[in-house]
């Protein structure tokens, strides 16, 4: 076992930090507020283009798609530094983490040729059309239909709490092509397709982040389907396993904890009571980091992470919660305009246990697969 990064990894981290120092504007902390806001979306397009030109957008992708086949550690160090800086890639992190790799694995040549190069250039923003008013954690009960019509499909239904939909170029959409769990298919749908209406949902996360998306007789060709009919479940399971450790939330949480403590120290308010809260939050961040590193290490060795990925997600949710609570208790002024970045972190931490699947589902997976407890009756 070795808990230190090697020279190449450390050098890569330095390179990324230097890039961030050179390319984040002076008012970045104000921009970071509202990850789906129009201002951050505009900024992210410009920033991701620069990242791509510097070879720092998709280094872990295959050379064929603009990467350099860097190992999972490089991808994760990149993600840590980006998320730790407040995620200047905006919603494009999804392309890099899982939408691009999922298309590489399951897409047709035409789909890959159409969608992957814009992602690799930092020009594409996607949203994921998963949750519905009646289907959140119970995703298999989704009702949005894709009915066969001539050579293609007609899509009817509604998605909800969809991040980035207001500015997205395309949607990674789940729709039902036949009844039952195995009747769900994936469609890659340009958001300017006639019949799609997006409505902003004001939220705790910030301006422009989550939306309702209505599909009213939206015509898509058969070539928009990713994989075969009814194959969504297997593909999404792969995609979500990439997503689960995809966001190193602990990196921003740990930095925000340091920021809050530094602020308290400046004001001579870092006393014994705050020590305990800070230690609790710091330990939770360190545990989440190590759990996540363990998953990256498994990937690097060609192993498929199992329920350990669920444990990593739970640990990550715990750390977000601890840091957010610390700030609320000891630096409440941050939530009232006192610190834009602490505020932005708090708003993201709100959804740590909700976005990309409720943490309770992960707890169930830990119970069954890691602990071996008998399953719940269905």
């Amino acid at each position: 076992m070795d808990f230190a990064f090697d020279d190449a990894q450390a050098t890569f981290r330095t390179t990324v930090r230097r890039f961030l120092a050179d390319n984040l504007p002076g008012d970045w902390e104000q921009l970071a507020h509202g990850p789906g806001s129009a201002s951050q979306t505009r900024f992210a397009r410009d920033f991701c283009g620069k990242l791509a030109r510097a070879g720092l957008l998709v280094p872990h992708w295959p050379a064929r798609w603009g990467g350099r086949d860097a190992d999972p550690w490089i991808a994760f160090i990149l993600a840590e530094e980006m998320w730790g800086a407040g995620e200047p890639r905006g919603g494009q992190y999804m392309n890099v983490n899982w939408i691009g790799p999922t298309l590489m694995r399951f897409g047709t040549e035409a789909q890959q040729a159409r969608y992957i190069p814009p992602m690799a250039r930092g020009e594409a923003l996607w949203c994921q059309g998963f949750s519905e008013p009646e289907a959140g954690s119970d995703l298999a009960s989704l009702r949005t239909r894709a009915d066969r019509h001539g050579d293609g499909y007609r899509i009817h239904g509604q998605k909800i709490w969809t991040s980035y939909a207001g500015a997205a170029d395309a949607c990674f959409l789940l729709a039902r092509t036949s009844p039952g769990k195995n009747g769900i298919s994936i469609f890659l749908v340009p958001m300017d397709t006639p019949g799609i209406t997006v409505r902003d949902i004001p939220s705790l996360i910030g301006e422009g982040d989550i939306h309702e998306v209505f599909f009213d007789d939206v015509a898509v060709p058969e070539s928009a389907r990713l994989g075969g009919e009814g194959e969504a479940w297997n593909i999404v399971r792969t995609a979500l396993s990439l997503e689960r450790v995809g966001i190193p939330r602990f990196a921003l949480a740990a930095r925000m904890l340091e920021r809050a403590v530094a602020s308290l120290k400046r004001q001579d308010r870092f006393g014994p009571h705050a020590h305990i809260g800070a230690a609790r939050a710091r330990a939770a961040c360190a545990a989440a980091r190590l759990y996540s590193y363990r998953i990256v290490d498994q990937r690097r060795h060609g192993e498929t992470p199992g329920a350990e990925a669920s444990a990593a997600r739970v640990a990550t949710v715990m750390c977000e919660h601890q840091v957010a609570d610390f700030v609320v208790e000891h630096c409440p002024e941050a939530l009232s305009g006192g610190d834009a970045l602490l505020l932005a972190h708090h708003q993201r931490a709100v959804v740590a246990g909700i976005a990309s699947g409720a943490a309770e589902i992960q707890l169930n997976l830990v119970a069954s697969q890691l602990l071996g407890l008998p399953r719940e009756p269905r």
């Binding site: 340091e258 403590v261 020590h275 498994q298 640990a315 707890l363 169930n364 602990l371 407890l373 009756p377």
Partner: protein, 301 residues
């Protein structure tokens, strides 16, 4: 960064598994608070397991792995201090077993200890005992506990050595706590899988599944923090590991006993062997408040 044991570390753990096999089963007719095995300690000593932290190719991470594994056994032995703290004491190899006494309180393994570390505020001292310097005391804690004679001569350690010893005491505490937590969770999983109420195993009820899963995530975190602290030999990481161990221990001992219900209250069920050892560790090194203070100093300079 590599989370897999090296071939040497893996071979060591395989050898350790063979050694602990006869000690692994909970006793069938046991009704006491403390279960100690001097035989286990003798076998570890004979096989030179107390030297692994200093063995090239093994080191403190291997020692922490071994401490964690041994803590999962129903029986206890003086392992953690010998494996993780003793190698870092200067002026030669001090005789083992070791014990750690704080504020004159009863301490683990004290009646058999030959070297005693004595905490005096921030400072640390050392005393060498012959049999008779410490008296056994009855205790709820599932370790053999003893009280030190007041007139034992204690030699103060230099502050720098004291700080290093304290760092390894924290790593030892966290590694041992991680094993205790894992064993207590395993024991609870077994109970929840077998015990039926309302016509189905307790482990099928989501309220308990989630609660135990959270305990497992906390326990796993303690293990990783302990291993990282052993690997990096960083004082802040050690303080963090000990803090997380003591904080998590408080929650786990309550939650796991709640899940075991009345069965966990009996001495015939082994749960208390691990949970009451965890309770003993909760107060050591000044408890989580002292660890938090150390984290504040070392991790937020």
């Amino acid at each position: 960064m590599d989370f897999r044991p090296t071939p040497d570390q893996a071979a060591l753990m395989t050898a350790l598994e063979r050694l602990v096999e006869p000690f692994a089963a909970p006793p069938t007719d046991f009704r006491r608070f403390t279960l100690e095995s001097e035989e286990l300690e003798s076998q570890l000593e004979a096989a030179e397991f107390f030297d692994i932290a200093e063995t090239p190719g093994l080191g403190p991470v291997a020692a922490a792995l071994a401490v964690e594994r041994l803590a999962r056994l129903p029986c206890t032995a003086e392992v953690a201090l010998s494996m993780l703290v003793r190698p870092h004491l200067r002026n030669g190899r001090w005789p083992r077993p070791l014990a750690f006494v704080e504020r004159g309180r009863p301490a683990r393994f004290l009646t058999r200890a030959k070297t005693v570390l004595v905490a005096d505020g921030e400072g640390l001292g050392v005393a060498f005992l012959s049999r008779g310097n410490a008296a056994a005391v009855n205790s709820l804690f599932a370790y053999p506990m003893g009280a030190l004679d007041a007139d034992v001569a204690v030699k103060a350690l230099e502050p720098e050595e004291g700080a290093e010893v304290r760092r390894w005491l924290r790593v030892a505490l966290a590694a041992e706590a991680a094993g205790l937590m894992q064993a207590a969770i395993d024991s609870t999983v077994e109970h929840l899988s077998v015990r039926q109420q309302f016509g189905r195993p307790l482990g099928t009820f989501q309220a308990l599944r989630h609660r135990l899963s959270e305990c497992a995530v906390l326990a796993g975190g303690v293990k990783w923090l302990a291993l990282e602290a052993a690997g990096t030999q960083d004082s802040g990481a050690a303080a963090l590991a000990a803090f997380h161990a003591q904080q998590s221990a408080a929650r786990l001992t309550y939650d796991l006993h709640q899940m075991l219900g009345a069965m966990g209250v009996t001495l015939e069920h082994p749960l208390h062997l691990w949970t009451y050892r965890l309770k003993a560790l909760q107060s050591e090194l000044g408890g989580h408040g002292a660890q938090a203070q150390a984290v504040a100093q070392l991790c937020f300079p």
